[in-house]
């Protein structure tokens, strides 16, 4: 069945990734980008940020809408940059994270994960549904690759098994197999298919 859905995001890269994936997987889905004024909270968890954000999107977007929030979490840095990833990227860039990680020269201390939270609001039933995706990996010692965006050049995902390339060294198709964002979108996709 035809389904109109808005992805409220100002990030064209995120939108393109989502559109490529969801329109392929969900027959009849048409994904539009809408630029609701989104309010980002300083909160303890990605879920709290996402819930607040979707509540804002509901006000300015008339139909079904979802938002997404993602972050890079580095346990050695007590979770930094976490929910502040987008702003920290602008201010410190990848090299800021690498600088902070100089205190942790052993590979075993350089664990990190990307987490994404996709939050959907269905206008008809007024339901809010949340979908989480996560990919574990490690922080590199230098930037590598020029694809993707955000902290992709300094993150080597632990999938596929034995991988040594950063997200920024993978094509969008390959990244879409394993990324946190893709996993959250896959959960969203499964839910959308269940509505049909």
């Amino acid at each position: 069945m035809p389904l109109q859905l808005c992805f409220a995001t100002g990030n064209k890269g995120k939108f393109n990734e989502a559109k490529a994936f969801l329109e392929k997987e969900v027959p009849g889905l048409h994904l539009k980008q809408c630029s609701a004024e989104l309010v980002e909270l300083q909160a303890d968890t990605l879920e709290a940020v996402a819930r607040f954000k979707v509540e804002g999107a509901i006000k300015s977007c008339k139909g079904n809408v979802f938002i997404e929030d993602a972050g890079l979490f580095v346990p050695a840095l007590n979770g930094f940059p976490g929910i502040f990833s987008a702003e920290v990227k602008k201010m410190l860039d990848c090299k800021g994270i690498l600088k902070l990680m100089e205190e942790f020269p052993n590979a075993s201390q350089r664990d990190a994960y990307f987490q994404a939270c996709t939050c959907l609001y269905l206008r008809e039933t007024r339901e809010i549904k949340m979908f989480i995706g996560r990919i574990d990996g490690i922080i590199t010692f230098e930037e590598r690759g020029n694809q993707g965006f955000g902290f992709d050049p300094i993150f080597v995902p632990g999938e596929p098994s034995g991988n040594t390339r950063t997200f920024a060294e993978m094509g969008i198709e390959e990244k879409n197999e394993i990324s946190h964002r893709a996993k959250a979108l896959r959960e969203l996709k499964d839910f959308l298919l269940s509505l049909a």
Copy 2:
């Protein structure tokens, strides 16, 4: 005239600084701490964070209320940690900022400033008033002192003229002469006195 005012903050250190100063300066003022659930926004400016925060405080606090927000802004780090100062302090602490500043070994690159924004809501007139205070200084090469809180141990204020001590090496009285917070509170105090 007697004036009841709430300071909505979860930070006992901030409250004590404000109470010591305001109750001395404004005859009849009684300052209470109230623990409204405060919502911190990820925004571009301290003023935007403060306005959003006071709007939250208004909902849970019945009387006159003010909130305060402050941050350390380092131009060499594109304003980091800025409005995220409190959260960054928890995650990276002073040593994280010092680590990032290793890229800037010249004193001339280590300029920084603390800025505070005090935002008052007057119940009777439904007015919101905003007061800004700022102190310029430099980031040290090591932590010094154990007074104050936050990033005080790595910030040498440029006042009094010729000063080489960090905020954390000053007593609360001396810090209250020059600090960003004190300057914003002094603006608030002048406004409160003008109401009498």
